[in-house]
């Protein structure tokens, strides 16, 4: 041994000490302080665990940090790894204290990225932290989040909140959350069986999923769960059948909107407008232009963008319609097949024009917030954009009906349709009415474009996708009959959606087309044929 060894030992100790000097403090700090743990986390798993700890730590800034992480505004300063988040005014705040930190350049702060694993932890944390929120809506969504998180550690908080909660709906949600957490805990059998019974009362897919996920539980619990699943399935079978009909209604509305302008130009005027789809496309692109302008100039108006786009789309498409009628169609009255060819050429040109102006790519048209998400009605899930389209479809239909039945323009339109010459000799300006009618049909197609921009691609091919369906609807319903168009659109929509679960989307569509072709052979004039002299015109 001797001196040398002692020296070596000493040296080793020194090096060792120097080595462990720095890390222990940071590790210790992280162990105690969840905010430090987030700052120190490397990798998504560690970050998620740190968030889990933060949620139950009672840290005063926990909610602010979780929300900042969710919004992607939490970052780390490169120099000292300090956590900072950016508030609504763009100032940086210290995550640990919530105080504003001056003199931070956004370039020095690297945002903290999250993945799905972290997002799940964030959701759970947000739920736990917001259970006591004064806002009842926030409490409700917090309870839903805790339900999904199934964290046994949330049980005491939940129980405390349930005792305090006055709103019966929220209390029920909290009880479900508690039951879900209970099932994940190691409580006794009786408590779990009761929890199963509580969850069963949700009667939805989430409850079913949760119950079906139970494994290795005592037989009593498993039995209760499978009974509950059967009950839920029976209930859901009915709901799903109704849901399919709702889907059909929604598809029907899309068809109605796409076809209703055609019901005017083709049905009333007898003009086969193959460029009808392109009128729809013009409406959709108008919506895009409006939204684009709003994004750059008046972002607060975004939720109203569709209401601004509607009249504009109508005007744009109607003007295009007048132009087409004056320059092409009026020379071809009485020659429907030639109109078909000319307007097909026109549709190619319009598509290419849009492709040249706006590019071949899809353009982004956003859903306003009131059209995003879904609402529940009698347990049916209705997505808001579809509901809006169903309502809008009816609104357009009845507005159009009103115009045709109750206005002077409508009267003259009907007169011209039935007997051009007689109408002319009664002093109606026939060419003028022709133009107006065509403009009306085109304008309505433009309106449809605004609606379809919410559910489909806004691309130069938009119109093509609807043209055959639109013609089918009009022909099926009976040319010249608006009510027929309505019935036809909804019938086709619902039949399609009822067939789809069995036959698949492709075969369903083929089946509908073939049925239609056969139907036309049986009833060449559609469901509601017009009677009288107008027929042979």
């Amino acid at each position: 041994m001797g001196v040398l060894l002692r020296l070596v030992l000493c040296l080793a100790l020194l090096i060792f000490a120097a080595f462990i000097q720095a890390p222990p403090t940071r590790a210790q700090q992280a162990a105690e302080d969840p905010v430090a743990a987030i700052a120190a986390a490397s990798g998504f798993d560690e970050l998620a665990r740190a968030i889990d700890r933060l949620a139950v730590s009672g840290h005063p800034q926990a909610l602010a940090i979780v929300e900042a992480l969710r919004a992607g505004t939490l970052g780390q300063r490169a120099a000292d790894r300090a956590l900072l988040w950016r508030d609504a005014e763009g100032r940086f705040r210290d995550a640990a204290t919530g105080e504003v930190v001056e003199g931070v350049s956004p370039r020095d702060v690297r945002p903290i990225r999250v993945n799905n694993r972290v997002r799940r932890s964030l959701d759970a944390a947000l739920g736990a932290l917001q259970l006591a929120s004064p806002d009842p809506r926030v409490r409700l969504s917090a309870a839903e989040r805790v339900f999904r998180a199934r964290d046994p550690e949330a049980i005491p908080v939940l129980e405390a909140q349930i005792a305090r909660e006055t709103d019966p709906r929220i209390r029920r949600a909290m009880e479900w959350a508690r039951a879900a957490a209970l099932l994940a805990s190691d409580r006794d059998v009786a408590a779990k069986v009761e929890a199963v019974a509580t969850i069963r009362t949700r009667y939805d897919l989430d409850a079913r999923g949760l119950l079906a996920s139970l494994r290795d539980e005592p037989p009593e619990v498993m039995e209760a769960a499978s009974a509950a699943i059967r009950a839920i399935d029976r209930h859901l079978a009915l709901v799903h059948a109704a849901q399919d009909v709702v889907f059909g209604l929604s598809l029907g509305s899309v068809l109605l909107l796409a076809a209703i302008g055609l019901a005017i130009t083709f049905g009333v005027m007898g003009v086969i407008n193959m460029a009808h789809g392109e009128m729809v496309m013009l409406g959709a692109y108008t919506t895009f232009v409006v939204q684009d302008w709003i994004r750059d100039n008046a972002p607060h108006l975004f939720d109203h963008s569709l209401f601004i786009a509607l009249p504009l789309a109508f005007v744009v498409a109607a003007l295009a319609g007048v132009l087409i009628e004056r320059t092409i169609i009026r020379f071809l009255y009485g020659r429907p097949l030639e109109t078909l060819l000319a307007t097909f050429g026109l549709s190619l040109m319009l598509q290419q024009a849009v492709r040249v102006i706006f590019g071949p790519n899809n353009r982004e048209v956003g859903n306003p917030s009131w059209m995003s998400g879904s609402i529940e009605l009698f347990e049916l899930m209705l997505t808001r954009n579809r509901v809006a389209i169903i309502v809008f479809g009816f609104a357009v239909f009845f507005a159009l009906l009103l115009v045709i039945r109750r206005t002077r323009l409508g009267l003259e339109m009907r007169a011209v349709t039935q007997n051009r010459r007689m109408a002319g000799s009664m002093g109606i300006r026939v060419p003028w009415i022709d133009s107006l009618t065509f403009a009306l049909g085109s304008g309505v197609a433009g309106l449809a474009g605004v609606a379809l921009s919410q559910i489909d691609n806004v691309s130069p091919n938009l119109g093509q996708g609807y043209i055959i369906d639109s013609f089918m609807v009009v022909v099926f319903g009976g040319v010249g009959n608006l009510w027929g168009t309505l019935v036809a659109a909804y019938t086709l929509g619902i039949v399609n959606k009822l067939l789809e679960p069995f036959a698949g989307a492709v075969l369903g569509k083929i089946a509908v087309l073939v049925l239609l072709v056969l139907f036309i052979q049986v009833k060449p004039r559609g469901l509601f044929p017009l009677k009288g002299r107008a027929v042979e015109a």
């Binding site: 429907p336 190619l348 022909v475």
Partner: protein
């Protein structure tokens, strides 16, 4: 009969032009050295072969549209079915030379785990059977469809729209991989036909010549039909169907016969097309393709057999040139052509030509103006 044939000088001239042109190109390709300035490349041979197939399709459309007043916007269905029948034969001829080396099954079936040949693929290894099917399948479909439609007096616009639906539904069906026709990829990688390698220049020239002969035969057949008593009734049906019916004829029978002949011609055209372009895929059933084909007829001159052939070649040659030189402008040109032709030249190019007093004799070549 001969008199009927030469009664339409435009037909005679176009038929002669087609034959002479095809033989000329064949000669220029086979006998002139590649360095010769009049040498026709295989590429040019392929182009002309394609135009001729389109011409035959246009002729088929003109027979029903120009002479029977049936505007079919779904002739792509007959064309495509003929093409598929030929494609299936070509697929079967690949035999064990497919990439998987399966003795019977085409490649796309092997890698989609089909274990045996579906029943409707049987027999297609025989040339006579395939050729029969090229004619039979489109004709039978036309017969069934026409019988249903004409019997219940679906006419005019309605008929046009359901023909669109027919071709659209067929396209969707053929896109399905479960149908066993190769789905979107269709049928490709053909090797040989009647023992001739499809990668051989001589075969290409042969196919082009065959297309030219088919066009000429088609012209003769259509001219004979049109000039016959049957054709006269057909034209009468086009112009005033009700009157013909009141006179005691059965218009539906005449229309049906015309549609079946037309479908068979379209099927043959499709069958000639497939080995020349080397692929058949459901996009041949695309509704817009059928409409485009109608435009060829309109451009050339509806109701004139020569016009249909001229129109198809003209529009497609234009298309080849435009899509190479100015791809962005092609759709404007095509669309504009549609509009101009319908508005300003209802009789098509041939109508313009015949308006020049010196070009044709006073007897004229244009049938009475269609209603």
């Amino acid at each position: 009969m001969l008199r009927a044939l030469i009664g339409d000088r435009a037909v005679v001239m176009v038929a002669a032009l087609v034959l002479a042109g095809a033989i000329g190109v064949a000669f220029a390709n086979q006998s002139l050295p590649p360095t010769h300035e009049l040498h026709a490349s295989v590429f040019a041979v392929g182009l002309i072969g394609k135009y001729l197939c389109f011409a035959l399709l246009a002729l088929a459309i003109d027979l029903v549209w120009g002479y029977a007043g049936i505007l079919s916007l779904g002739h792509g269905v007959f064309w495509g079915l003929g093409g598929y029948a030929m494609g299936m034969h070509l697929m079967r001829l690949i035999g064990p030379r497919g990439v998987y080396g399966h003795p019977v099954l085409p490649d796309f079936m092997v890698f989609l785990n089909w274990t045996e040949l579906p029943w409707y693929w049987r027999g297609f290894d025989q040339a006579w059977f395939a050729l029969l099917m090229v004619v039979l399948v489109p004709s039978v479909l036309a017969f069934v469809f026409g019988w249903l439609a004409f019997r219940s007096r679906v006419t005019g616009v309605y008929l046009s729209i359901i023909t669109q639906a027919l071709t659209y539904a067929t396209m969707l069906a053929f896109f399905r991989n479960d149908m066993g026709f190769g789905g979107n990829n269709g049928l490709t990688d053909f090797r040989e036909l009647f023992g001739f390698s499809l990668r051989d220049d001589g075969t290409r020239v042969g196919l082009m010549l065959a297309s030219a002969v088919a066009v000429v035969l088609g012209l003769i057949l259509c001219r004979l039909i049109v000039a016959s008593r049957f054709g006269k009734v057909l034209i009468a049906v086009r112009d005033a169907e009700s009157r013909v019916r009141f006179l005691g004829y059965r218009p539906e029978a005449y229309k049906l016969a015309a549609l079946v002949v037309s479908a068979a011609l379209a099927g043959i055209a499709g069958a000639l097309y497939v080995p020349q372009v080397g692929i058949i895929n459901p996009s041949e059933f695309a509704p817009t393709f059928s409409i485009e084909a109608v435009i060829w007829v309109a451009v050339g001159g509806r109701g004139t057999l020569a016009g249909a052939v001229l129109g198809a070649v003209l529009v497609n040659a234009l298309k080849s040139w435009f899509t190479t030189a100015m791809p962005d402008l092609w759709l404007f040109a095509l669309g504009g052509l549609f509009i101009l032709v319908t508005l300003l030249m209802p009789k098509g190019v041939l109508g313009l030509v015949s308006a020049l007093p010196t070009a044709f004799s006073r007897r004229g070549v244009i049938a009475e103006r269609p209603a």
